[in-house]
């Protein structure tokens, strides 16, 4: 049984930051991830990292912008922590090799994104996530951090209220293994595949959210689902919103501009306006010029050509809103700590409270960098004060028996793929950009029905090696948990706030104090509670 002081589950930006922080703290740390770290969804993050670097900007101003965007649901202590720390974290990333774009003075260049009152987003062309991921991975190689790749964590081992490690399935062999650790950091990424169309990678299945949910933890603000306005029409790719600040023009189907670039709106407003536009929209780069396109849109230039057949310097790119990310996640404090001792979470699977009801563009990657580091440090500190406990011998045989039972189910009727498609279509149709009670009721009914069908679904392929159907089975279980939480929270929130827009309740409920939704796994399905928003500053 592999034993570590700290086990990081997930190899994206938050996971690698956590791993490095734990390593620097001097504990024995390892990574466990479903894909090779460089195949993580972080590689697709294109907007950049936000921080105030002085001049006419300040971390307080960044915090104010974040809180304004969050529409009353930001945890102010978490926002403060992120906005204070972001500049130091970004400088550190610069020192270890992220090739951030430079201005004429050779200093960090910045672009302007919607909702920001200052140009504070540093970027590495439109591949910031890719560049940060690669740089952190280089440092993990340097530190010789053990990495278990193509392993899926199937459950958390929690005994006496303490996390003891995880059980995991090796995708390549079908072997099950218990990984014992004094502290576990979940950094498994988002759950974008709960919708279609979305910008999600294949791996974004809410794995960590589900692990925590099944371990009794609450998922916070799950109804807050953000769309990206500049998605490709037929692929998961999207253009960086940095394009709008750089002078790309958003046009209607007649080629008429539909956005003033000197007053960029927040994503939710832009998405709703684009979704209601007849005959779609285009993003026109022609005024930017080929050289600048090449320097700042390295990825998009290639992707538009390969996947949309568009040469950006000669034709506009058709775009449409695509579901982008669930803003909520596993409830944590600003150290990534959860209510289970020894269990931490960071990155897109976590909710430290910075996004509230609408994430400011660029804050998601920033939060992964800042809170990934903090979670790794806190996990290391926790591990230093405790010793790994062996996982009970019964844990693995129990899981093997469960697996055998799944393999022995009859295979007539549903497949995991048909259920997954039905789920993603249901969510897009009824729990999308604009919601109402009837649609949410229908979604709740569908998700419950799909949950019931999931408990009966059989697997047609029984091989052990790279059994994708088995992997999908586990991922679908997680997606159903996430969908249940989203629908439950969206039904309860009878107001419009941030990205949660209800046509039957079109304004925010100002009569009541803003609240967080918190969905836990009850005996009869998702159970909803609310908690007040921490609108005070940290000490």
């Amino acid at each position: 049984m592999p034993k570590y002081d700290v086990l990081i589950v997930g190899g994206g930006v938050a996971g690698l930051q956590a791993a490095l922080a734990a390593k620097y703290a001097g504990v024995q740390v390892a990574l466990l991830s479903k894909t090779h770290p460089l195949r993580s969804h972080s590689a697709t993050s294109s907007d950049g990292l936000n921080a105030a670097f002085g001049g006419d900007d300040s971390w307080q101003q960044h915090a104010q912008d974040t809180i304004r965007a969050g529409a009353g649901l930001c945890d102010h202590a978490a926002v403060e922590e992120m906005c204070r720390a972001a500049s130091d974290d970004i400088i550190r990333l610069d020192h270890i090799g992220v090739p951030f774009n430079r201005n004429a003075e050779g200093k960090l260049d910045r672009w302007t994104l919607g909702g920001h009152t200052s140009s504070r987003t540093v970027f590495s062309a439109d591949m910031t996530g890719h560049a940060v991921l690669n740089t952190l991975h280089e440092q993990c190689m340097r530190e010789d951090i053990p990495s278990h790749e193509e392993w899926l964590a199937t459950s958390l081992v929690v005994e006496d209220g303490c996390c003891r490690g995880v059980l995991a399935l090796e995708i390549g062999t079908g072997n099950l293994e218990a990984f014992s650790a004094s502290a576990v950091v979940l950094a498994t990424g988002g759950a974008g595949r709960v919708y279609t169309p979305s910008t999600a990678s294949q791996s974004c299945c809410g794995d960590g959210m589900s692990l925590a949910y099944r371990a009794g933890l609450g998922l916070r603000d799950m109804e807050m689902v953000q769309y990206h306005p500049l998605g490709f029409c037929e692929r998961a790719a999207f253009a960086s919103e940095g394009a709008l600040g750089e002078g790309a023009v958003l046009c209607n189907s007649d080629g008429q501009p539909i956005l003033q670039t000197d007053d960029l709106p927040l994503r939710d407003a832009l998405c709703r306006s684009l979704a209601s536009a007849e005959n779609g929209a285009t993003l026109d780069f022609r005024s930017i010029g080929k050289e600048r396109i090449g320097a700042r849109f390295l990825y998009l230039e290639r992707a538009a050509n390969d996947m949309a057949g568009v040469s950006l310097d000669s034709a506009p790119l058709p775009v449409m809103p695509r579901m982008h990310r669930v803003l909520g996640g596993i409830q944590t404090d600003t150290n990534g700590a959860t209510a289970v001792s020894g269990l931490f979470a960071a990155g897109e699977c976590a909710s430290p409270g910075v996004h509230g009801a609408n994430a400011l563009t660029g804050n998601a990657l920033t939060a992964s960098v800042v809170f990934g580091r903090r979670a790794g440090s806190a996990a290391a500190a926790h591990a230093s004060n405790s010793s790994p406990q062996a996982i009970a011998d019964s844990a693995l045989p129990d899981t093997r028996r469960t697996l055998e039972a799944i393999f022995s189910r009859p295979t007539a009727g549903d497949t995991v793929v048909t259920i997954q498609r039905a789920l993603a279509n249901t969510m897009a149709e009824h729990v999308g950009l604009v919601r109402d009670e009837a649609g949410l009721q229908e979604a709740a009914r569908c998700v419950a029905d799909l949950q019931a069908r999931y408990t009966q679904v059989g697997l047609r392929h029984h091989g052990k090696m790279y059994n994708h159907e088995l992997l999908t089975f586990y991922e679908l279980g997680a997606l159903l948990d996430v969908a249940g939480a989203i629908v439950t929270a969206a039904q309860e929130r009878q107001e419009s706030r941030g990205v949660h827009h209800r046509s039957d309740f079109p304004t925010a409920n100002e009569a009541e104090e803003p609240y967080h939704s918190l969905v836990t796994c009850g005996p009869d399905g998702p159970s909803l509670a609310t908690s007040p928003v921490n609108a005070g500053q940290s000490g």
Binding site: A131, N134, G172, E234, R302, R460, Y466, E469
Partner: protein, 322 residues
Amino acid sequence: METTFKVYRFDPENGSKPDFATYQVDLPDSATVMDGLRQIRDEQDPSLAFRASCERGSCGDCALRINKKGRLGCSLKIAKTVKNGVVTVEPIRNIPVLKDLVYDLEGFLWKKIKSVQPWITPREPEPEGEYVVAEEQLAEVRKAMSCVMCGLCDEGCAVIKIDKDFVGPAALTKAYRAVFDPRDGQHDERLTLVSEPGGVWDCTHCFEANGHCPLGLEPTDRLFEVRDEAIRQGIRSGTRNPKVQRHYDSFLNSVKRSGWLDEGRLAIESEGLTNVAGLAKLLPTVIRAIPKGKAPLPYFHHKRPGAEAIRRIIDKAQRSEV
């Protein structure tokens, strides 16, 4: 669009030999090869194994050999590659296949990337803020770093095909990223590292890597630039390998003396004049070469016309190095 997919199948679990299976798919014109594979797996044969992650050419996970060319499956439309209604999909070459289209990148790519130590050590003195660096310097680093580690340049490499120890163009493009990053404090150490046998000097200039890179990053050119930088910095190949050093010294001294290569002298001096065991290993070759007139007497190498001019050029170059 109806298309026939011929897909490489290999499942070590059932003991069968590798073979191709044929599937019919019907997809819109905009569909990619990856869409086709997914339709096969989701609707026809759930046992089919392949890797795919980002679905947009950002992560390099889906590198495959499609109609005999290395491509990213998620970025290649069926309509662009289909020939006579058929798309043939195989794993990339020169690599152990684990199952169907899934192959083992550990030894082929990841270990080699780590071997060039492509991590930045902040150059001293480390500034309080960001490093002040010209955009032009970082632009090329950024471009090299946009590599998605798909391994297709290594797949096309003519050297790796016969020498698995060559670190290859992917790892050396990663090395380029560190060598040319002005913020790095280990510039010369890394150049020394990649100048060792198996590194930049083992490339044979076939330019296949350039032709195989789906992102147009020109890995061969990057590798050449690392070589040029090593020369500029006076870093010689094989500084950690005395035999390689002797080989270089002998080569140079031979050309400097006679204007061309004294092969006999090179063989002896490379092994080392006091290395009896090494010299003994040469004997069978010498014995085979003598009857064929291919074993010229070492050190009695006559000068070629213009040898004096060549010597002067070398002298001048050596003076400028100093």
